[in-house]
């Protein structure tokens, strides 16, 4: 509940995430954080810096480089009364734990006929844009969103960075929280009493009438920037932030497209088999007769992300490519 004495405070996305972690650790003794270098090193993206000093090594646990083991252990601990937050440094390394996530976390509830809950949160960094080349630049949110039994969150705003963790911890299911590496340094203001946010719906980040730009996570700032550029060119775009990839809030998407009749989906994943493809399919299924133009997708090029700066830029969705796709969809070719 926002209190009346709340003030706006300047913060970064990283600090908002850290506040959420601190609050969760303070609120519930069953909550603990484990992962590689979360403690002494201060977190590979410095999100957990200072928490070891505050909460001690029992609750801020540095793990060996054993992704399958410590993610699996998080599942076991969640099954047995704890509320673990497991940090996997990046989605790239989560592939070493994919078996535990897909074959255990996502299935135990169902396989056991509903006997068990897995109140586990797995946090991981995702995304490209820092010239880290092909083994450190994956965007695999869509893969995880494919799996029933998991919930998949992609916070983009400061409010969501601050508020999604608490809701994820309150959820009795395994929740994966993706933190786009391009967002950590984003600065802005946040209400001093910011807290838990819903994790079952998309949000309209910018209202518009002529076109729906649909994006999530690290692509939200780009979609918003593209919308501003389009506005300057006389095109009024709505920006939808998916926020949650599973369960997907189709209603908000459909409502937007019913209004704008046009959609461009922006997704940092590779185009083939992308989450953007799922969005596109849902719109075709549920809003086909409302569409005035084919749906467009702006995705990453079909290539492992290259190191060289100009090639990396060319491989990823950019503001300019979003603008171009939007102009084509509304029929004003450049």
């Amino acid at each position: 509940m926002p209190g009346s004495d709340a003030v706006m405070v300047r913060t970064t996305w990283r600090e908002a995430m850290r506040s959420a972690l601190r609050e969760a650790l303070q609120a519930d003794p069953r909550v603990f954080l484990m992962g590689e270098d979360v403690g002494r090193y201060g977190g590979c993206y410095a999100v957990s810096r200072g928490l070891l000093e505050e909460f001690g090594p029992e609750r801020i646990r540095d793990t060996p480089l054993s992704e399958s083991a410590f993610v699996g252990a998080g599942i076991g601990a969640a099954l047995n009364g704890m509320r673990p937050i497991v940090e996997v440094m990046t989605v790239n390394f989560s592939l070493l734990a994919l078996d535990q996530i897909v074959n255990n976390a996502a299935t135990l509830r169902h396989m056991s006929g509903g006997q068990f809950a897995i109140p586990l949160v797995i946090r991981m960094a995702t995304g490209a844009g820092r010239q880290l080349a092909a083994q450190h630049s994956h965007s695999l949110e869509g893969w995880y969103a494919h799996v029933p039994g998991l919930k998949v969150l992609c916070p983009a705003t400061l409010e969501d960075a601050r508020g999604m963790l608490a809701s994820a911890l309150a959820d009795p299911n395994p929740v994966i929280l993706f933190e786009h590496v391009g967002l950590y340094n984003v600065e802005g203001t946040l209400r001093s009493d910011a807290g838990a946010v819903p994790i079952d719906r998309a949000a309209v980040r910018r209202a518009g009438t002529q076109l729906s730009l649909i994006a999530y996570g690290g692509m939200i700032p780009r979609a918003l920037e593209a919308a501003e550029k389009l506005a300057a060119q006389g095109i009024d775009a709505e920006v939808i932030d998916l926020r949650v990839l599973r369960p997907l809030d189709t209603a908000t998407l459909v409502a937007s497209v019913r209004k704008t009749h046009r959609a461009v989906i922006v997704d940092e994943g590779w185009r083939s088999g992308s989450f953007a493809a799922e969005i596109s399919a849902r719109l075709v299924e549920e809003a086909f007769y409302d569409l005035d133009a084919p749906i467009a997708r702006v995705c990453s090029a079909e290539v492992p992300i290259p190191y060289a700066r100009h090639m990396e830029i060319a491989a990823l969705p950019q503001v300019e490519t979003i603008v171009r796709a939007a102009r084509e969809v509304v029929g004003t070719h450049a």
Partner: protein, 329 residues
Amino acid sequence: MTAAPSLDDDLARLRGMLRIRRFEERAAELYGAGKIRGFLHLCVGEEAVAVGVMRALTEVDAVVSTYREHGHALARGVPPDRIMAEMFGKAEGCCRGRGGSMHLFDASHRFYGGNAIVAGGLPLATGLALADKMLGRRAVTVCLFGDGAVAEGEFHECMNLAALWRLPVLFLCENNLYAMGTALALTESQVDLCAKARSYDMPADRVDGMDVTAVERAALAAVATVRAGDGPRFLELATYRFRAHSMFDAELYREKREVESWKLRDPIASLSTLMKLGGALDEAGLSALESEVAAELDAAVAFAEAGTLEPVDDLTRDVYATEASDARQ
């Protein structure tokens, strides 16, 4: 086993280590200048491992390494100008700018990367060795990885598989005591890494990784038995990185004192002092060596600077092999 090391050999060892040290220092400067981007992991302090190991190999042997591989690549013979150009993201780089610092590959030197997934290279090395064995080649695959990698399942799976099938692979663990900011003792119930290899019935030895001659001697002996078909071996090379894990490391996890005490065992200073004492090197000789190394590096940087950017139209090139010739060994 080799005969007692000759003076020429010592000079070559010193030159090899100095090239790596100066290359790394230059890379750090160029990172600061924004010429090199992404993650940059330097091996300053660990040069004796790279030089000692690579001197024990022949042309037919294969090398698999990690993201901290500039030294390994240089010592293996990958030209510094191609490495520098790669880190500049230039088309003249050893991977045309696609890989960068963490992913140096050079087929002509049988240098199979630059793997940035911890322990990701071990299965690859095991497979390279499997192919060599099946094809009746007398090649040895050398697989370098850090102490952090021994916690991964892949390490254990590969130790077992290579030993079970008696594959010609030499596993070399560069134990620099830390995996990023986490000390070995905080992640391993058993810090004797050789014990792990031995539990898979693989002969294992611990070597002073700050002593280039000791590394070379141990590597030569191990390579000889592996080549002879006696199955895989494991060497733990005790070493230390003098600099941060990467360019984004505040080094909150270790004491300056500890770093300083390891610096007293600097492999380059140790060897040059020894050579000076033995009369094999004087100040003039050392500065001649320094200028020789500097000239080579200047040329490498100039080469990288002068390099070109691959056309963006080629973005999706080499995602798939298209010609039958690509499938050749």
